[in-house]
């Protein structure tokens, strides 16, 4: 059996490939558009600012704990200085 390709077969194949490529490109560009549009949504903006605030507050608590511990050690040393005669330098050994 001798089959013949329909007329303009090759052109049809290329057209389908081009259409698929363009569809793929559309998916990517749509995703990018969706992402960009997300930033314009007030809820996303509020979420980002809230997240930033939470991170800042969390970091401050951790750092403040360290600072307060260091300040506590300084205060303890100040108190000891007032009751320890050896803490005034004359007792260095």
């Amino acid at each position: 059996m001798d089959l013949e390709a329909p007329p303009r077969f090759q052109a049809g194949v290329w057209a389908r490939i081009a259409a698929e490529e363009s569809a793929r490109a559309t998916v990517f560009s749509r995703a990018a558009e969706w992402l960009a549009a997300a930033f314009y949504r007030p809820r996303v903006a509020a979420l980002a600012v809230t997240l930033g605030l939470a991170v800042g507050i969390g970091a401050a608590f951790v750092k403040a704990q360290d600072s307060n511990a260091a300040l506590g050690r300084q205060l303890q040393a100040r108190y000891i200085e007032t009751i320890n005669p050896l803490a005034h330098g004359g007792g260095q050994s």
Partner: protein, 155 residues
């Protein structure tokens, strides 16, 4: 593309602002305490949960102990000066240097005993748990003699 960047900056600003405010509020009491002229006693009151009556007693004991502490301090300084002078004057260890070093050690010991007596007396005013904690803290500092060696080496 401007909007995402602005949003990022806003989030960053919120983080910095939140950090600054919370850090300042959380460390303010300790900083204020350190700036107080009698910060050691203020710290003691807060750290060992002293009631106004307990604090008044401790303050009274502290004031009464001060002349003893100052006298001890002067004795240590005098003994130290004697040791320094003998070391500077002699090329080797002399019996006088040995005696001066012994005297210096004895004075230091007297100071430790006096401080420990005061510490026990103060702890008796506190609640048993706080008193125990206070004795542990203060006795831990008994062996400290002025600046640490590392601090001297750093200078």
């Amino acid at each position: 593309m401007k909007r995402p960047l602005l949003l990022l900056l806003a989030a960053l600003a919120a983080a910095v602002l939140g950090y600054g405010i919370v850090y300042e509020l959380a460390t303010r009491p300790a900083k204020a305490m350190l700036a107080h002229p009698d910060c050691g006693m203020v710290w003691l009151r807060q750290e060992y949960h002293l009631s106004p009556e307990q604090f008044a007693k401790v303050e009274q004991m502290h004031t009464a102990y001060r002349p003893t502490c100052e006298a001890m301090c002067m004795r240590i300084a005098a003994a130290r000066e004697k040791v320094d002078a003998l070391i500077a004057a002699n090329p080797a260890v002399t019996p006088e240097t040995e005696a001066a070093l012994r005297e210096w050690a004895l004075v230091q010991n007297d100071c430790r005993v006096a401080m420990l007596r005061h510490v026990y007396a103060v702890s008796a005013v506190m609640s048993p748990a706080d008193g125990k904690r206070y004795v542990a803290m203060a006795s831990g500092r008994l062996v400290e003699t002025g600046m640490a060696h590392t601090a001297l080496l750093d200078q």
